[in-house]
């Protein structure tokens, strides 16, 4: 679940201003300006004229701006901005990628929004998030809490939990498909030996989504743990001590002091999980391909199918913009709500 650009922007973008204020405090702020004044006094005024960033507001500076900006601006323009604008246009056409596209205005959007199966894709995606988020959050938080203490072999335990994070989604999906194989999988063998039921896992419409959730939680647990660990380590020790002095028990200290102070990390995990969860695709594509009987077809899976199976590029583009609006709305809701529960927000 490492932050994709989109999720990162949402989780951090909102408080861009905060970040900038913080760094201004930390660094180039007042003390710096002060020393700069000294600079001008000590060295001749020539130094002031040559200060980088202020020097030659004319063409010479424009040249430097181009030199430093073009290497990133050109690829971003060609491979992000232009496709993005083109995608808006594609979503307004009927196009099978082969013959010429025909303009159909908002027909694609109208059809998708009135088709009940569109809602199904969003519901499947939602079911994934509802199963996945509590698992990784509670698991990751507990592990971080325990592995923050001084323990023997602590770094081994941390590494063991983290190893799946660096494994790619496709590998995770394949390995879990094999572990959860209904006939010869190790999980069902163990369940059978214990005399328990043996579900059909990813081959059973009712168990397919839980299988995907299990595999995804296994992969992302370590990432959540690292984020929560970083949060725990940023809590000043004297706050904990003060609570202990006041007679708080271990659980009270966690519930009333530590956990509320972790709310920025919690917020980061929740926002990123929601955004990444809404875009879930790789593990679904490999584990179930959207099946059985469409039980796990998610929104991005359908975007893929519309384009490359059914040759309906216009519908695919429209669906991707509907998804984008949903992500934007949910994230905006998160950001609006954060003041109520995130400390220092």
């Amino acid at each position: 679940m490492t932050p994709t650009p989109a999720s990162f922007a949402a989780a951090r973008g909102s408080d861009t201003n905060n970040v900038i204020t913080v760094s201004a405090h930390r660094d180039p702020g007042r003390g710096d300006r002060h020393s700069r004044q000294e600079d001008t006094r000590l060295h001749s005024h020539g130094a002031r004229r040559m200060r980088p960033g202020r020097r030659g507001s004319g063409w010479r500076n424009a040249g430097w701006v181009l030199v430093f900006l073009l290497p990133s601006a050109v690829p971003l323009l060609l491979f992000t901005v232009i496709p993005m604008l083109a995608s808006i246009w594609v979503s307004l056409t009927k196009w099978n990628l082969i013959s010429a596209p025909t303009f159909v205005a908002f027909n694609n959007y109208r059809r998708l929004l009135t088709d009940p199966t569109t809602l199904d894709y969003f519901l499947h995606t939602g079911a994934y998030i509802v199963g996945y988020l509590p698992l990784v959050y509670i698991g990751g938080l507990s592990l971080a809490y325990v592995l923050d203490k001084k323990l023997v072999a602590r770094s081994f335990f941390r590494a063991a939990v983290f190893l799946p994070v660096i494994t790619s989604w496709v590998v995770v999906a394949l390995v879990w498909q094999w572990l959860l194989n209904p006939a010869h999988g190790v999980v069902n063998t163990v369940l059978g030996a214990l005399g328990l039921g043996q579900p059909g896992w990813w081959t059973d419409p009712n168990w397919a989504m839980p299988s995907i959730i299990l595999a995804s939680a296994w992969k992302d647990l370590g990432f959540v743990m690292i984020i929560m660990l970083a949060g725990l380590q940023s809590i000043p020790g004297d706050v904990q001590e003060a609570a202990t002095v006041d007679g708080a028990t271990g659980w009270q200290r966690f519930r009333r002091v530590t956990w509320p102070m972790l709310s920025p990390s919690t917020f980061f995990v929740v926002v990123i999980s929601l955004i990444n969860g809404l875009q879930v695709f790789d593990q679904v594509f490999v584990m179930t391909g959207g099946g059985p009987q469409g039980a796990t077809q998610v929104v991005v899976g359908q975007i893929y199918n519309l384009t490359f199976r059914y040759g309906r590029a216009g519908d695919a583009a429209a669906l991707s913009w509907i998804l984008f609006v949903v992500i934007l709305a949910i994230t905006a809701g998160q950001l609006a709500g954060q003041r109520r529960w995130v400390t220092h927000a």
């Binding site: 650009p5 922007a9 980088p52 430093f68 990133s72 992000t80 323990l151 496709v170 390995v175 490999v286």
Partner: protein
């Protein structure tokens, strides 16, 4: 087991805690162990149900794997594309970060805002038109097309701009007095001082490229150009029931990245943790 912490008493709670941790580590590591075991199990015995101790271990699955797919090429592709993407993002990101942090020009905040806006667009929105763009430029199914969407990332620009802003300006000014140009200040003064953030961008870019699946799936057809996730999914499509071969492929794709992880564990964890701290 408790030798490392002699001042602590061995309490029931502590024993339970360690038991829980050992169980947890076992659950996290078991899938890896099982992947290796399956890959060396003779094909015929897999259907008899799993065993921890393999009778007659064999490397046949690996032979089939390397005969079916150009695996060496695929592993090298994955590394090469990831490293090219890292290098490009470090160069483009730090240069743009310098422009936004140190050069004042008209419309700077508007341009920076436009950069940040590209972060909000998910890949799914771009996939269709990007594919068409590659087709129009006859670039589909090339290394360049794999790399195209990850040559520059506004996320990297954002992180590196923040880092450059935290570098005291006097350092630049001292260099200016010595007659250094922006390019010299950038390479000799700024870049050495923003190494921690460069490390974070390296890790984020590497993992994004290493894991990337949807875009390669859309744009790549030739086996020689495949990356590991794509190669594995192709293998899976071909050998639905040959789990020994599929697991051998998984082992081949886990081992290189696990080696990288063991060597650079501290940097990777610190780099990722860095993204979550406000």
């Amino acid at each position: 087991m408790f030798r490392g912490a002699p001042h602590r008493r061995i309490t029931v709670r502590r024993v339970l805690l360690y038991l829980a941790l050992v169980t947890c580590a076992a659950v996290m590591l078991f899938p890896f162990l099982w992947t290796v075991i399956t890959s060396i199990t003779p094909e015929g015995t897999l259907a008899n149900g799993p065993t921890l101790l393999v009778k007659d271990p064999t490397l046949n699955a690996y032979r089939t794997l390397f005969a079916t797919l150009p695996m060496w090429r695929i592993v090298i592709n994955s590394f090469a594309i990831a490293m090219a993407s890292v290098a490009l993002q470090l160069i483009t990101g730090s240069m743009a970060g310098y422009a936004f942090a140190r050069l004042s020009f008209r419309g700077r905040s508007v341009v920076f805002g436009a950069y940040l806006a590209t972060l909000m667009v998910p890949l799914q929105v771009l996939v269709v038109p990007l594919f068409i763009e590659m087709k129009l430029l006859s670039l589909q199914d090339t290394y360049f097309s794999l790399l195209a969407p990850s040559m520059a990332s506004a996320l990297g620009v954002f992180l590196l701009k923040q880092a450059i802003e935290a570098v005291p300006r006097e350092l630049d000014e001292a260099a200016v007095i010595d007659g250094a140009s922006h390019l010299r200040i950038f390479t000799k003064v700024i870049v050495p001082l923003i190494k921690p953030s460069l490390a974070t961008v390296t890790i984020l870019a590497f993992m994004a490229s290493w894991n990337s699946f949807l875009w390669p799936l859309v744009v790549i057809r030739s086996p020689e150009l495949m990356t590991l996730p794509l190669g594995l999914s192709a293998l899976h499509g071909e050998y639905t029931t040959a789990w020994d071969v599929v697991m051998a492929g998984s082992v081949v794709s886990i081992v290189p990245i696990a080696v990288v992880f063991v060597l650079a564990q501290r940097h990777i964890v610190a780099g990722l943790a860095h993204t979550g701290i406000k």
